[in-house]
């Protein structure tokens, strides 16, 4: 048996979108096999299939040489495939010991939980991993995130895992915790455990992986022993030959910056952020989740208080204490998760569009002028081409694309000067996506400044006049013109500090 896990020709689609197109993936015992790729490349779908959360549409999975059907997470664990998720799945109030053994209790002959045996087993496990174990009886919530993760690794060993999947394990760890994790991964590997390691940090992969597989657009673009590949090659495969046509624009960028940010800092989320944004410009913000893009946007909009630095908006130094102040000054913010933060789903289209300006719409005694509300809503429904049966249809019954247009309409109705868009087309069908893109371009042509945050490289390349790349809370690249390429952007986003073209902003 050469491979402990073998996936052959895996296909998976979600509602017409092909997430995996015939993926092959193998894992040997005692190796660390890294899986890399941009967001949407299909990594998480593949992992979910291996860990039993999803079933493939087609394709075969062999485990220890035998064909298997992994139809639940429990079954995967029972077989010996464990997953350590980015955010540890823990029971905060229960003891560390219970977090390890829950669902797999060691029992006494009478069926009681044998705490003593469990503790002994945990102690010997922790000792073999070189970890302290004095906290076994403490509640899990009292441990740091890094320690919680190590406890979950120990748990995988209790399940006698032969395959352990690490899904971006270092994203929330400190440097010290990361080092400890690596030494444990090496120990596991030496014991013959097969490890699938997903990370966006290429330097980590070169440190601990034996093999690397690069995915893009639901396909495997290359698989190499780590010695046979370098960083540039991996980045090239991740980026591919992205043929993105830039959206047609009038290029009516103003002379004076609309927004200037200088040295904005909020530890540990972002550090020393400086940039200018001009009227009529679309400024793209690219970076991995957790790179600080959203935090910067929320600080400008008054949702987070920065510790240091200056924000100059429209010629005045500002520091908004609340979103309401920012809105009054002329900033609109379209949040990342429209369901939670942007919409009132069981209210009508008209209500959702007009809710931010109820005060302006009200007549004497604060009663809302229904006719004005209708007029306003009607105008935006036509202007943005929102497909809805009527103004009084409840928003949740619209498609994702049309919901997003309603959110956009809501913010446009306050006639902002600066529009901050956080992942404006996430989870939206292709047609509405390009409509929203056209809309954003039109708005910029009319002189609005647009700050566009996106994790989708094609979107960033298509829409932005300039691109700012963030990595772990810092700006690692600013690109425009010829330098605005997929490869440059990915290199900066994976932590390589780039020569910044055109200086910071102006």
């Amino acid at each position: 048996m050469e491979y402990i896990l073998e996936c052959r020709g895996i296909f998976k689609s979600f509602g017409g979108v092909q997430a995996l197109k015939g993926v092959d993936f193998t894992l040997k015992p005692g190796e660390v096999h890294a899986l890399v790729g941009e967001n949407g490349a299909g990594k998480s779908t593949l992992i979910k299939i291996i860990s039993g959360s999803l079933l493939p549409d087609r394709g075969d999975i062999f485990y220890m040489g035998q064909p298997v059907r992994i139809d639940s997470p429990r079954k995967a664990q029972d077989m010996g495939i464990s997953t350590v998720y980015q955010e540890p799945l823990v029971y905060g109030e229960l003891s560390v010991l219970e977090n390890i053994f829950l669902g797999r209790e060691i029992r006494t002959p009478r069926g009681n939980i044998d705490w003593k045996k469990e503790e002994e087993k945990a102690q010997s496990l922790f000792t073999s991993l070189g970890l302290p174990y004095h906290f076994l009886r403490e509640p899990m919530r009292e441990l740091s995130v890094g320690l919680q993760q190590l406890v979950l690794i120990a748990k995988a060993l209790v399940y006698e895992a032969k395959v352990i999947i690490f899904d971006e394990p270092t994203a929330i760890l400190t440097e010290h915790e990361t080092e400890r994790l690596f030494s444990i991964i090496q120990k596991l590997r030496d014991r013959g455990v097969g490890i699938i390691y997903i990370s966006h940090r290429l330097e980590e992969i070169f440190r601990i992986a034996n093999r690397v597989t690069v995915m893009r657009d639901g396909e495997v673009k290359g698989e190499f022993p780590i010695e046979a590949v370098d960083r540039a090659k991996i980045v090239e495969l991740m980026a591919g030959k992205l043929l993105v046509e830039e959206i047609a624009r009038k290029r009516s960028r103003g002379e004076e910056p609309l927004l200037s940010v200088r040295g904005l800092t909020k530890k540990p989320r972002f550090f020393d952020i400086s940039f200018d944004l001009f009227p009529g410009e679309i400024l793209g913000f690219f970076g991995l989740v957790g790179s600080g893009r959203t935090d910067v946007a929320q600080s400008i909009f008054g949702l987070l208080a920065p510790e240091d630095g200056a924000i100059i908006f429209n010629g005045h130094r500002v520091r908004f204490a609340s979103p309401e102040e920012a809105m009054r000054a002329g900033i609109a913010y379209l949040p990342e998760d429209r369901k939670v933060q942007g919409l009132f789903p069981i209210q009508s289209v008209a209500y959702n569009i007009s809710v931010t300006m109820l005060r302006e719409l009200s007549r004497r005694f604060g009663i809302v002028d229904i006719q004005k509300e209708q007029g306003l809503a009607d105008r935006y429904v036509r202007e943005l081409n929102i497909k809805t049966p009527s103004l009084y249809t409840r928003v949740y019954s619209l498609s994702g694309g049309n919901q997003q247009k309603v959110v956009l309409a809501k913010w446009l109705s306050v006639t902002p000067k600066l529009l901050i868009l956080d992942e404006p087309t996430r989870g939206i069908d292709v047609a509405s996506k390009s409509e929203i893109h056209n809309l954003i371009a039109q708005l910029a042509d009319r002189g609005l400044g647009v700050m566009l945050i996106s994790s989708e490289l094609p979107e960033i390349l298509k829409m932005s006049d300039r691109v700012i790349v963030m990595h772990e809370g810092r700006i690692t690249g600013v690109f425009e013109g010829q330098e605005k390429t997929a490869e440059n952007i990915i290199r900066a986003a994976t932590g390589e500090r780039m020569v910044v073209s055109g200086g910071v902003g102006a």
Binding site: S72, P73, R74, Q77, D78, L89, V90, Y91, G92, E93, L94, E98, L102, G103, E105, R107, G111, N112, I113, R141
Partner: protein, 317 residues
């Protein structure tokens, strides 16, 4: 270790509640003559038993993150059934099984509405509360049941070694469920579900069956409490058990079970039941108008949940 162990005991809610109980006992024995009398104390224990028995089940329900506000009506319903059967001359063992059965059925029904119907617990049990109360009116036709045969009343009034038999049963159930919740895999699964349902699901715990289980056990315990009630008071009215849910929930949350789920003990709930019982009893002896009783209990519930919420918020941020 012993030092932190001691600190941990001192920090526990059970310890605070125990301290409060002691303080109240001292206060009431100094300010009233009758509080420390044998008849008052045994009366107190008799009244407490039903609340404490139901609080055991409620503790498990609240640990899973749920709630059951129908226990007052369920207690009434079980009393009606028990009362009718007793008046019909059926043997006590059959009456016992019938009261347990009625409670169990109500609990199973609640559990199914919540686990399979995906109805929020507060709404499912609120509906059940109203339905059961209405059924009680129909069954009783506005009359009382009284003159319960004395044979059964030993469950409610009898004593052994000076302690009411119902209190012995309570002690046994507290012991059993403490063991169950701390040492049996299913007992621990109840905590897991309340702590992190997603993680529990991935660990292979059946969320629906666990939910059904806790509501069913609560139902059966309330059914038994209904029989104890009939045996103690000897009468059943249409409003029997109304307000009982508040007392049970108060006992549980005062005893340190987190209304947010995942944390709590039946010992704590027993202490909580004592606290509520002593406050009620003492207020009567101090001639405080009965209406203020609700005020005090309401304030205590809100305070203890507030402490709980602040504790959790403090940790997560």
């Amino acid at each position: 270790m012993t030092n932190t162990g001691l600190r941990r005991i001192l920090q526990r809610r059970e310890f605070t509640v125990f301290g409060l109980i002691l303080a109240l006992v001292i206060l009431f024995s100094l300010t009233t003559e009758r509080f420390m009398s044998v008849s008052n104390l045994s009366n107190l224990l008799l009244q407490l038993a039903g609340t404490a028995i139901s609080a055991i089940g409620m503790t498990m329900v609240i640990i899973t993150g749920g709630i059951d506000v129908s226990v007052g009506s369920a207690l009434g319903m079980a009393s009606v059934v028990a009362g009718k059967l007793l008046m019909g001359g059926y043997p006590p063992i059959l009456v016992l099984l019938a009261s347990l059965g009625v409670g169990l059925l109500i609990g199973l029904f609640n559990g199914m509405l919540i686990a399979w119907g995906n109805i929020p617990p507060i709404i499912a049990t609120l509906g059940m509360m109203s339905i059961l109360r209405s059924l009680m009116y129909q069954l009783l036709g506005g009359r009382w049941i009284s003159g319960i045969p004395p044979a059964i009343r030993i469950i409610g009034l009898g004593k052994w070694l000076g302690i009411p038999i119902s209190m012995w049963v309570t002690a046994f159930l507290i012991g059993f469920f403490t063991y169950f919740l701390s040492s049996r895999p299913l007992g621990r699964a109840i905590y897991a579900v309340g702590n992190n349902p997603e993680a529990a699901r991935i660990s292979g715990i059946d969320l629906r069956r666990t939910t059904l289980f806790v509501y069913a056990v609560l139902g059966a315990l309330v059914g038994f409490a209904g029989l104890v009630y009939v045996a103690r008071t000897g009468i059943v009215q249409t409003n029997t058990g109304s307000g009982f849910e508040l007392e049970v929930i108060a006992a549980v949350v005062l005893g340190g079970t987190s209304i947010l789920g995942g944390r709590g003990t039946v010992i704590g709930s027993l202490l909580g039941a004592f606290l509520v019982g002593i406050i009620k009893n003492g207020m009567v002896l101090l001639n405080v108008p009965a209406l203020s009783e609700g005020l005090v209990i309401g304030v205590l519930i809100i305070l203890s949940v507030m402490i709980d919420v602040i504790r959790v918020r403090g940790e997560r941020i």
